[in-house]
C-alpha cells in the first residue's frame, strides 16, 4: 500500500473518531433534553394530580399554576440547554483535545485536513495524532451512553406512581361528605344560620334541598340579598369563575363526577321567619340567637315560659311565636331523634334531653320552645299545617314590659295614667306607707341620711 494512501487512511480514521465523539455528545445532549422534558412533564402532571386529589379548588388552582410555570420554564430551559450542548465537529474536536490533553492536535488536523496536505509537518501531525488515537476514543472522551437526566425521569415516574393511589382514594372533603351520606344521607340546616357563599370544595351537584315553600321563598330572598355566586362581579366574580374552573378540572382529573355519590338530602328550615335576610347582621346574629335560645330551652323546663321570654329579650331576638301543643310534642320527638345526627350541637342535644324528661302534658304546656332552642331541634313540624288552638288554653304566657309615660299617645289627649293596682306583698316586703321618723332605728337613720346626702 502506498505511503500516501496509508496516511489518508490514518487521517480518515482520526476524522471518523472525531465524528463518533460528536455523535456521542449529541446523543447525550438529545437524551438530556428528552429526559428532562419528560421528567418535567410527568412530574408536573403527577403534582397536579396529587393537588387535585388532596387540595380544594383554590389550593389546586394555585399549585397547578405554579407547577405549570415551573414546568414551562423548565422545558424552555431544557430546550435551550440541549441546543447549547449540541456540538459540531470542530467543537467535538476541541472538547476531545481538552479532555484527552491532546494540545490542539485534533483541532488542527480537522481544520487543516483539506488545506495543509502539502505542508512539511502535516504527515508528522497525522502520524502523531494517529498514535494517540486510543486517548481520544469516544468512550474515553465521554464515558456515558445514557444521560444523567434519566434519573430525573425515573424520579418523576416514581412520583407519578405515588400519585395514582391518592387519585383513587379521592379527596378528604369528598370522604367527609361520603361519611355524612353513610350516616343517613340527611343534613338539616337552618336558613337563618345559612351563610351562602361558594363552596370550597364545591358540593357535588346532586345535593337535594327541600323545605316548605315559604322557606324556599325566603332562601331565594336570601340568595338575592347576599348575592348569588353567579351574579357576583369584580374580584369575587373572577374568584368564582376560577373556583368553578378548578372544580371542573379537578373533577375531570380525579374522575369524581356528580353521579358518583349517593344523593345528599339537605333539609332547610327557617327558625326565624321574621329575620330580615341579608345585611351585615344577617350572618352573625343567628349564631348568637341559636346559642341563647339553646340556653333558654335548656332552662325553660324548670323556669317556665316567662323565663323563656326574658331570655329571648336579653338575646335581642323577638319572643317566640306560639306553637301548638301537638306540634311541640312532635318537635320534642324530633329533638330527641336529632341526637343521632352528627351535625347537631351539644346545646340542642341537651335541650332535647331536658324536654324529654318532662311529662307529655308539661311538654305541651311549657316546651313549645324546645323547637326553638337549639340547632339540633328538628323543626320540621314548624312548617306543617298549624294545629287548631284549643279554646281557653293558657299553656303559655306573653310577658309585656310596659312603663308609665307622661306623653300622650295623641296630641291634645290626656296623658296616660296607669291605674293603681294593689298586689299582695311577699314576706320580705313592707307596705309603701310613710312611717314616723322616730320609728326608724338610730343606726338606720344614719344610713338613710348618708344615702340622701350622697
Amino acid at each position: 500500500m502506498p505511503e500516501s494512501r496509508r496516511d489518508e487512511q490514518k487521517l480518515w480514521l482520526i476524522l471518523f473518531q472525531i465524528r463518533s465523539i460528536r455523535s456521542r455528545l449529541n446523543l447525550l445532549a438529545a437524551q438530556q433534553w428528552l429526559f428532562t422534558t419528560l421528567a418535567l412533564m410527568i412530574g408536573g402532571a403527577a403534582l397536579i394530580l396529587i393537588a387535585a386529589a388532596k387540595l380544594g379548588p383554590f389550593g389546586f388552582l394555585g399549585v397547578s399554576f405554579a407547577v405549570f410555570l415551573v414546568v414551562a420554564s423548565g422545558i424552555f430551559a431544557a430546550a435551550r440547554r440541549g441546543w447549547a450542548a449540541r456540538v459540531d465537529v470542530a467543537r467535538a474536536a476541541g472538547l476531545a483535545d481538552r479532555r484527552a490533553d491532546l494540545k490542539g492536535r485534533l483541532t488542527t488536523v480537522l481544520a487543516l485536513s483539506e488545506s495543509a496536505k502539502q505542508a512539511q509537518l502535516w504527515p508528522f501531525l497525522v502520524e502523531d495524532t494517529y498514535a494517540m488515537r486510543d486517548d481520544f476514543e469516544p468512550r474515553r472522551i465521554e464515558p456515558r451512553l445514557v444521560s444523567r437526566s434519566l434519573g430525573a425521569l425515573l424520579a418523576a415516574l416514581l412520583l407519578a406512581l405515588l400519585a395514582l393511589p391518592d387519585l383513587n382514594r379521592g379527596g378528604a372533603m369528598a370522604r367527609q361528605i361520603a361519611a355524612g351520606r353513610a350516616a343517613g344521607g340527611q343534613v338539616t340546616a337552618d336558613l337563618s344560620q345559612l351563610q351562602i357563599q361558594p363552596a370550597d370544595p364545591a358540593l357535588q351537584p346532586n345535593a337535594q334541598i327541600y323545605a316548605d315553600p315559604e322557606t324556599l321563598r325566603r332562601l331565594q330572598q336570601k340568595l338575592a340579598a347576599e348575592g348569588s355566586p353567579h351574579q357576583r362581579k369584580g374580584l369575587g366574580g373572577l374568584m368564582d369563575k376560577a373556583r368553578r374552573f378548578a372544580d371542573a378540572f379537578q373533577h375531570q382529573l380525579t374522575g369524581r363526577n356528580s353521579e358518583s355519590g349517593a344523593p345528599l338530602n339537605l333539609r332547610l328550615t327557617d327558625r326565624n321567619p321574621d329575620h330580615t335576610p341579608g345585611g351585615r347582621n344577617g350572618g352573625g346574629q343567628p349564631r348568637q340567637m341559636a346559642k341563647n335560645s339553646g340556653d333558654a330551652g335548656a332552662h325553660r323546663g324548670a323556669a317556665g315560659a316567662a323565663a323563656n321570654g326574658r331570655h329571648a329579650k336579653r338575646s335581642g331576638a323577638p319572643p317566640p311565636a306560639a306553637i301548638p301543643g301537638s306540634q311541640a310534642d312532635q318537635m320534642a320527638k324530633d329533638s330527641a331523634g336529632a341526637t343521632s345526627q352528627p351535625n347537631q350541637s351539644s346545646n340542642s342535644n341537651q335541650a332535647g334531653a331536658n324536654d324529654n324528661a318532662n311529662p307529655p302534658e308539661q311538654d305541651a304546656a311549657n316546651d313549645f320552645g324546645g323547637a326553638n332552642h337549639g340547632i339540633g331541634a328538628d323543626p320540621e313540624h314548624l312548617f306543617g299545617p298549624p294545629a287548631p288552638q284549643p279554646f281557653g288554653s293558657d299553656s303559655f304566657k306573653i310577658a309585656i314590659d310596659a312603663e308609665p309615660s307622661d306623653e300622650a299617645s295623641a296630641p291634645g289627649s290626656p296623658a296616660y295614667l296607669p291605674p293603681k293596682v294593689r298586689v299582695p306583698l311577699n314576706p320580705n316586703q313592707l307596705p309603701d306607707e310613710p312611717i314616723a321618723r322616730a320609728a326608724v332605728p338610730a343606726g338606720e337613720q344614719t344610713i338613710i341620711k348618708r344615702v340622701f346626702d350622697r
Binding site: 476541541g94 492536535r105 488542527t108 481544520a111 512539511q120 504527515p123 508528522f124 501531525l125 502523531d128
Partner: protein, 348 residues
C-alpha cells in the same frame, strides 16, 4: 506523503528540541536560574525576532547575551549605548582610505551592527536618533548608509538590555523600536538558592566552560534551517483567531467587541489604563513564539496554551499605559494578565 518525508520531519522536530535543549544547557552553565527567560530568549532567536532584556543591575543581562553568543558560535557584536553615541557609531560610516599607491577613496567601514548577534547594552541611554539606527537592521536585516544599502548576514539577532531603575539621563525607547522587539524578557532577582549557586560558580577558580553547540562554519546555516522548520509548524484557524483576539483585547477601543456576541469580552482595565494596545506585530510574535514552544514540546501544531504562555513576553512592551495606570501603580503585566484571563474564556 512519502515515507522519506515523514522520516525527515520526525527527526527534524526532535533535532530542534535537542538542539534547543543543548543551547539552554550551555547557557545555564554561566547563567544560574532564569530558566524561563533563557527559554524565551532562545524562542525569539528561532522565531527570527529580537529581544529586549529588562532587569536591574547585576542580574546577568550582559552575561546572558555573551554566553548565548559563545554557545551559538556566531559572530558577536556589542554596543555600549551612551548619550553621545551617534548612529554612525552603530551602522558604520564611510571613511577615506589611502591605498599604498597614494590613491585615496571613500570606503565603508561597517559598524558593530554587522554581526550575527548584537548586544545593545543599556540601549535607553542613547538618544532616540541613535536608537533608531537599529530599526532598519532589526526589521529588514539591512543597513543603509548614505545611498548604499548593506545586507546583514542571517541569522541576525539583537538583544538590548534595559535598566529600569536608573532613569536619569536615559531616553525612553521609541514605540516603533519597542515594537520591533519580538519579546521583552524580564530578569528578576535570583532566589536564595540560585544566589548561592551563583556565588559558588563565579567566585571559584574554574571558569564556566561554555562550549559552542555548533561548529564555527555551520552555525548560521543550522540555525537558519531550524528557523525555517519553525515556520512549518501548523496553526489551526481557531488558534490564529485566538491570538488575534488577544491582541485586539489589548487595544482600548476594541476590547468591548471581541468575537461574536456569545464570546463578547469586556476588559475594564484596558479601557481605563491603556493608551495604545499591541500592534499586529504582537500577534505575529505570539504565533511565532508558540510555534517554537510547540516544537519544543514535540508537536507539529500550536495549542492555545502555547499562546497563553508567551502572552507576557510578546505583549507587555507593546502596551502603552496612560497616566492613570502610573498613578494607580498598574503595570502592563497586570493588564496582560487580565487580557489572557478574559480571552481564555473564549476558546472554541
Amino acid at each position: 506523503m512519502s515515507e522519506a518525508h515523514t522520516a525527515i520531519a520526525q527527526p527534524t522536530i526532535s533535532d530542534f528540541a535537542r538542539t534547543f535543549r543543548r543551547i539552554q544547557a550551555e547557557i545555564h552553565k554561566a547563567i544560574i536560574g532564569h530558566e524561563e527567560a533563557v527559554e524565551e530568549l532562545l524562542a525569539a532567536l528561532f522565531a527570527g525576532g529580537h529581544v529586549l532584556i529588562e532587569g536591574v543591575p547585576g542580574t546577568g543581562k550582559t552575561t546572558l547575551v555573551k554566553t548565548l553568543g559563545l554557545a551559538l558560535n556566531l559572530s558577536f557584536g556589542r554596543i555600549q549605548f551612551t548619550v553621545d553615541l551617534m548612529p554612525a557609531d552603530i551602522t558604520g560610516t564611510r571613511v577615506i582610505l589611502s591605498a599604498a599607491d597614494g590613491h585615496r577613496e571613500f570606503s565603508f567601514q561597517p559598524g558593530p551592527i554587522f554581526c550575527h548577534i548584537l548586544l545593545g547594552d543599556e540601549i535607553n541611554r542613547a538618544t532616540p536618533k541613535t536608537q533608531s539606527a537599529l530599526l532598519e537592521a532589526m526589521a529588514e536585516l539591512q543597513v543603509t548608509v548614505g545611498a548604499t544599502t548593506y545586507p546583514l548576514a542571517p541569522p541576525y539577532f539583537v538583544m538590548a538590555t534595559l535598566n529600569p531603575i536608573e532613569m536619569e539621563g536615559t531616553y525612553p525607547l521609541p514605540e516603533a523600536q519597542l515594537d520591533r522587539f519580538l519579546f521583552k524578557v524580564r530578569l528578576a532577582y535570583p532566589g536564595e538558592e540560585e544566589l548561592v549557586r551563583i556565588i559558588t560558580a563565579t567566585t571559584g577558580p574554574e571558569a564556566s566552560g561554555v562550549e559552542p553547540v555548533f561548529a564555527a562554519g555551520e552555525a548560521a546555516a543550522k540555525i537558519e534551517s531550524l528557523k525555517r522548520l519553525v515556520r512549518e509548524v501548523l496553526v489551526a484557524p481557531q488558534i490564529e483567531q485566538y491570538a488575534a483576539r488577544m491582541v485586539r483585547a489589548t487595544q482600548p477601543h476594541n476590547s468591548r467587541a471581541l468575537g461574536d456576541l456569545r464570546n463578547r469580552v469586556k476588559i475594564d482595565a484596558v479601557d481605563r489604563y491603556v493608551s495604545f494596545g499591541s500592534s499586529p506585530r504582537g500577534a505575529l510574535a505570539l504565533i511565532m513564539g508558540a510555534k517554537v514552544r510547540a516544537m519544543l514540546d514535540g508537536r507539529a501544531n500550536v495549542a492555545y496554551d502555547d499562546i497563553d504562555r508567551l502572552a507576557h513576553a510578546a505583549l507587555e512592551h507593546r502596551i502603552m499605559l496612560n497616566y492613570a495606570a502610573h498613578s494607580d501603580n498598574v503595570d502592563a503585566a497586570q493588564i496582560v494578565d487580565q487580557v489572557v484571563r478574559a480571552i481564555r474564556a473564549t476558546r472554541a
